[in-house]
């Protein structure tokens, strides 16, 4: 249970980190919070030749309120994001989802950039980023580009980043809601023990007008397949309805009809599909109730 040998560098700027990563070749890896990578090293599922530790790169640790969007540095810890007033005000779904991310000790180290780059379909934050039309800034010695998270998440533990690219920021655009509407959001997951990876989960953002009609909806699914998933078909069922229970049940059924969760000893495929359907139903109902109560 000890990591294999590796070289270690701790740069203090993104520029130096990018150079080290480029020079290190394909076996060089970035170390952010380390709450997934170091267990993988301990279990020897990973054996990088070089670890480039980003924890000393101060420029990655800021939350910046830019025009119409929040720019969250890749090294901002989950506990910081979860306690940040601007995040809670503009993206309450992210704040709520972070409460399900492991335990306080993990959230004190884990980072938003790390969980995004790790691309685990069972992780909470990537699903919320997908539902929020978030983008990442990817930097290398060759330059810098922005990638929508929908294009970033390719498969389990696989992103579209090149081996020499570093996620430096996660950008979440402010939600634009129609005048006279109220938005509600909810994140629901089921795990056998608090803080464990969930058997499955669902998340919803709904926007209701004064008559209680749903003007727009986003439905996200946790642990539903090889990557974070969003169901446009379920959103279409919800939109222009009053989110009556039968309609929401139908949306949850549509959302989970074609998903392929990864089954294992903790839950087979059918059981996980059922759990995700129920959590999706609860998420939409809870989001709708929050919107009706005007509590966001």
């Amino acid at each position: 249970m000890k990591p294999p040998a590796f070289e270690y560098e701790a740069p203090s700027t993104v520029e130096d980190a990018a150079q080290l990563l480029a020079d290190g070749g394909d076996d060089a890896k970035l170390l952010a919070g380390g709450q997934s990578l170091i267990p993988l090293l301990n279990l020897r599922f990973a054996a990088p030749s070089l670890l480039v530790d980003l924890n000393g790169v101060a420029e990655l640790a800021h939350i910046h309120d830019a025009a119409g969007e929040l720019r969250i540095g890749a090294l901002v810890r989950h506990s910081t994001v979860a306690g940040h007033a601007l995040v809670a005000e503009r993206h309450p779904l992210l704040t709520e989802a972070l409460g399900y991310v492991a335990h306080p000790q993990i959230r004190n180290r884990g980072t938003i950039g790390g969980t995004t780059a790790h691309s685990d379909p069972a992780a909470e934050v990537p699903v919320v980023l997908l539902m929020s039309d978030a983008r990442v800034v990817a930097r290398s010695t060759r330059g810098q580009r922005e990638v929508a998270v929908d294009d970033l998440f390719v498969s389990i533990f696989t992103t579209s980043l090149e081996p020499d690219e570093i996620i430096t920021e996660v950008i979440i655009p402010d939600r634009h809601s129609e005048p006279g509407t109220i938005t509600g959001a909810s994140f629901q997951e089921f795990a056998r023990r608090h803080g464990d990876y969930a058997i499955g989960g669902g998340a919803a953002i709904v926007e209701l007008d004064a008559e209680g009609v749903c003007r727009s909806a986003r439905v996200g699914l946790l642990g539903a397949g090889m990557r974070p998933e969003e169901s446009k078909a379920a959103a279409a069922v919800l939109e222009n309805s009053t989110l009556a229970e039968d309609t929401v049940r139908e949306a949850a059924r549509v959302a989970t009809a074609d998903i392929s969760p990864l089954g294992n000893v903790h839950g087979d495929v059918q059981y996980r599909r059922d759990v995700i359907r129920e959590m999706t139903f609860r998420a939409v109902m809870t989001a709708a109730n929050k919107a009706k109560a005007g509590t966001a």
Binding site: M1, K2, P3, P4, A5, F6, E7, Y8, A10, L31, G34, Q35, I38, P39, L41, N42, L43, L51, D53, N55, S79, A102, H103, P104, Q105, I106, N108, R109, R193, H194, G195
Partner: protein
Amino acid sequence: MKRDIEVEVNGNRYRRSVEPRMLLTDFIRHELRLTGTHVGCEHGVCGACTIHFDGEPVRACVMLAVQADGHSLRTVESLAEDGQLNRLQRAFNECHGLQCGFCTPGFLMTLQPVVDAGEQLSDGEIRDAISGNLCRCTGYQQIVDAVSAALTPPQPEDHATS
């Protein structure tokens, strides 16, 4: 290649030369000989190795010793005050919040900031606070009782009743 690091632990400064692959748990236990920090699962599940890193509870088994360079750590050895168990430790003692004791240092380091914050918590909130620590002996109830006792302000003894 070994790297030189300087770490402050429980108020003492230490300089050591360590391999990058050395876990922070092994550094604390084997290099500093502070064996109060326990190693359970060694992959970030059980919480037995919880320490404070720059004041915040973290799992030392999923950090590298080299990452502690220039940082300040506290381990369970720092809790006792003048050789006496502190309030939280006494509560664990009095409420039977431990049996074999293996998990106890991790629980204490997780809970000390909770006790320091001083807010009264419901049993549910206490269970949430300890959710990252595993105990295989107590069934948790006595641990919840201990935290509850540690959070309750001391009552003046009531001599009127007999």
